[in-house]
């Protein structure tokens, strides 16, 4: 009896020890992120959260401002709403386009065709182009009189628009510009396609399935985790879009490309209102968080994980 209890007790404690060990192991493996978060990320994030409730001009001590900044977000400043609206529109257009274009390219380049390396390198090149040189290039490309874009259009008898100078065309021009670096997404999809087991394709070919069923029922489901990744990152990135407008249009013409983060930057570093800028930043944070959580929620019904049933 006593012996039996003893055995039971040891096995119980060893099981618990093992369970605790599993948790410890998980934390240890995740430590390279957790430590980095605690040391380098959490502090500055917390500081910016505190700033929301202050008036701080960066140059003199901050003053407590209560909820003024938050009230201001919703009442006094129409440009906050405007910039959030156009940024959202930008995201709605550019995220699906980026995913579709990247995926199409990756599939075309995952085949066994000649010059594969050549094509892949060429498509990745725009991502490599440094920001310093690309601003010059794009302004030249979109120049109404001297740009090659309108020159090509004129060959087809089309009088090109004034692109960056026209309130209606500035945003499409910037969308085109960001779509240009679709090579980044292509690399991710290529890596994902590599992971689709060849056996599945062999089986489908033996079954006589055409390319569409193969795509629909094998390829796409197998790479949904990566499409999910691209969707989440696309939302996060496109709602934080900054550089194209910063270097190309300065938010114009007539605020047509005044992205949220560009406006935020101006509030912070040109108007010296770090408190209000922080309030804007945290509003965007919450907006993206809600959208992302919705995507995470939906993931359960469309993302297929070979390795794990739970989570998403």
């Amino acid at each position: 009896m006593g012996l039996a209890t003893g055995i039971a007790a040891t096995s119980l404690s060893s099981r618990r020890r093992r369970r605790i060990g599993r948790h410890v192991q998980g934390w240890l493996f995740a430590a390279p992120w957790i430590l980095g978060f605690v040391i380098f990320v959490a502090g500055p994030m917390l500081a910016s959260a505190v700033m929301v409730f202050t008036d701080w001009d960066l140059l003199s001590p901050a003053r407590f401002a209560g909820l003024n900044n938050i009230r201001r977000l919703f009442v006094h400043d129409p440009l906050v709403g405007h910039s959030l609206k156009i940024t959202t529109m930008y995201a709605i257009v550019s995220v699906p386009m980026d995913i579709a274009a990247g995926l199409t390219l990756a599939m075309l380049l995952n085949a066994n065709i000649r010059g594969l390396r050549f094509y892949r390198t060429l498509y990745y090149l725009p991502v490599v182009l440094s920001g310093v040189a690309s601003a010059l290039l794009w302004r030249w490309l979109f120049s109404p009189e001297f740009g090659p874009l309108n020159y090509i259009l004129s060959l087809f008898g089309i009088a090109g628009p004034a692109w960056l100078l026209d309130p209606e065309w500035a945003m499409p021009a910037l969308v085109m510009m960001t779509l240009w670096s679709v090579g980044g997404g292509m690399v991710i999809y290529l890596a994902a396609l590599q992971g689709v087991p060849t056996e599945l394709y062999e089986a489908s070919i033996v079954d006589g399935a055409g390319w569409w069923p193969r795509l629909r029922f094998i390829t796409l489901p197998m790479i949904t985790p990566v499409i999910f990744f691209q969707l989440v990152m696309g939302i996060i990135r496109s709602l934080q879009v900054f550089t194209p407008a910063f270097i190309m249009t300065q938010g114009g013409p007539l605020n047509a490309t005044l992205f949220y983060e560009l406006y935020l930057y101006r509030i912070a570093f040109e108007q010296f209102r770090m408190g209000f800028a922080s309030a804007m930043a945290w509003l965007l944070f919450l907006y993206i968080l809600v959208l992302t959580l919705l995507v995470f929620r939906s993931a359960r019904s469309w993302v297929y994980y070979e390795g794990e049933q739970r989570g998403g």
Binding site: D57, L58, L59, S60, P61, A62, P78, L79, A135, L136, R139, W140, S143, P144, E145, F146, S154, A162, L164, L165, D166, P167, Q194, P197, T198, E199, T249, Q250, G251, G252, P253, L254, N255, Y265, F269, E270, Q271, F272, R273
Partner: protein
């Protein structure tokens, strides 16, 4: 599957590649990425770590500072373009003040206000700084810059009256405070390509008598050649880098001040102003003597290409044009066009050097400012075609160093221009820069003939008013 499987060795290979690259780099780099004592020590000593206004140093502190070796930190933007100039100033200053070492914080380009602001607010202070208009007023109003008036009274070797007053007024505050001394000064003028004038058999513009607006436009039309829808030679040109200020110059020329009294608004809401803006825009979309001015950078069809007959720009461009035109085409300058029936006016602008309020070594900093803007430094600047004189002793009579800094051959014309100098937006360059960006953005569709100035300005006005109000609320106006 097994053939696609990758061994651990391969993974290590990727890591090793990274490590090798960095090792190679490390071997090539004699200086390890650890703080060098020179760089780190003054950074720590320079300022309090809290973003507070540093109290003025006490007399005892100053005395202590004067005895020991002093390191002054100077923030230099465009460190490559203006490196030679500042190296000269630093070494000249250090020669006279052997106990002071000037450390240059190098910044690759432009008015990178974010870098300066982040440094200042995190306590990584500099002592002096070569400012630009956009950043100046904010920093002055927020008490970051040191008022220089006491130094003017204290230091008998420096006289404000030695300088052309307009360049001092450029950054003068409403209450008479002066925070800066002029370093670069320029006025706007016409650059013209003599070869094109010769080829078209058109006489050069008169350096003594400015053309009227309409004469300038007629001349530009005469010198423009289009083949089909493509320009071969353009008569007039306002380049991107100057376009953002040019409309203000045209407006001021037409007698329309930029600000309404007390900066309660801007004078862009009336038919006279719209007419000027439309006229300026028509150069581009209607007469096609000028490509769209909206480009903020040079497009590959600038004056320096040799395909443009006339260009409206400032002395700041002399150096670049000198280099680009050497051996390719001959060029010279003519006065800024004047609207018929108005008083002659020339549009001027400048950059200054300032001192930070938190500087622990105000006397040394003042000495450095004086050196940068002193007569010897100016001579060096003429040599490098960087500025026009703003010291009266160099203007009347013209200093030989400036006279000899040709081309342009008509360079003495700018000294005459100084009599007609005006500031198109006096009072607050920071507010001007915020408002002018809105105007610029609104003008883009006007330049391409998509909107009239009236429509664009009407749409932009609420934005301008709100920005002004915000600047007032935050004390920047």
């Amino acid at each position: 599957m097994s053939d696609r499987r990758v061994t651990r060795r391969d993974f290590l290979w990727i890591g090793a590649m990274g490590a090798t690259a960095s090792l190679m780099a490390a071997c090539g780099a004699p200086v390890p990425p650890t703080p060098t004592p020179q760089a780190a020590a003054p950074a720590k000593a320079a300022a309090p770590s809290e973003p507070t206004k540093a109290p003025a140093p006490t007399v005892a502190e100053k005395a202590a500072a004067a005895k020991g070796p002093v390191t002054l930190r100077f923030l230099l933007r465009h460190y490559q373009s203006f490196g030679p100039q500042w190296d000269w100033i630093v070494s000249s200053y250090q020669k006279k003040n052997p106990n002071v070492k000037v450390e240059i914080v190098q910044n690759p380009a432009g008015c990178e206000l974010d870098k300066l602001l982040i440094m200042v607010s995190a306590g990584d202070q500099v002592d002096t700084y070569w400012t630009c208009g956009d950043t100046f007023v904010g920093l002055a109003t927020k008490g970051v810059l040191k008022k220089l008036n006491p130094f003017f009274t204290m230091d008998k070797t420096f006289k404000v009256d030695d300088y052309v007053s307009t360049f001092f007024e450029l950054y003068k505050q409403k209450d008479g405070s002066i925070y800066s001394v002029p370093w670069l000064c320029f006025t706007f003028m016409i650059f013209y390509n003599k070869d094109i004038f010769d080829k078209e058999k058109v006489p050069y513009p008169d350096p003594k008598k400015p053309m009227t607006w309409d004469e300038t436009l007629e001349l530009a039309k005469k010198l423009t050649r289009w083949t089909g829808s493509r320009p071969e030679q353009l008569g007039g040109f306002v380049s991107g880098s100057t376009a953002w200020t040019m409309w203000a110059a045209w407006l001021a020329q037409a007698g329309i001040p930029f600000w309404k009294p007390d900066m309660s608004g801007v004078n862009l809401d009336n038919p006279e102003a719209w007419q000027v803006l439309d006229w300026f825009a028509e150069w581009q979309w209607k007469h096609k003597v000028n490509p769209s001015a909206a480009f903020q950078t040079d497009i590959p069809f600038g004056f320096n290409s040799g395909n443009v007959a006339m260009w409206i720009a400032a002395e700041a461009q002399w150096n670049g044009t000198k280099k680009a035109a050497a051996g390719k085409f001959k060029w010279d300058i003519a006065p800024f066009p004047q609207r018929a029936g108005t008083k002659r006016q020339v549009y001027g602008y400048g950059d200054t050097v300032v001192m930070m309020n938190a500087s622990r070594y105000p006397d040394e900093s003042w000495g450095f400012l004086k050196e940068a803007c002193g007569p010897e430094a100016y001579l060096m600047l003429y040599d490098m075609a960087t500025t026009i004189p703003s010291l009266k002793t160099h203007i009347n009579p013209p200093h030989p160093t400036f006279v000899n800094s040709r081309p342009p051959d008509n360079n003495l014309m700018v000294l005459e221009d100084l009599e007609y100098l005006m500031l198109p937006y006096p009072g607050n360059s920071g507010a001007y820069s915020a408002v002018s960006r809105i105007v610029n953005n609104a003008l883009n569709p006007v330049y391409v003939g998509k909107m009239t100035a009236k429509e664009a300005m009407t749409q932009a006005m609420p934005d301008i008013q709100r920005t002004l109000k915000e600047l007032k609320d935050t004390g920047l106006v």
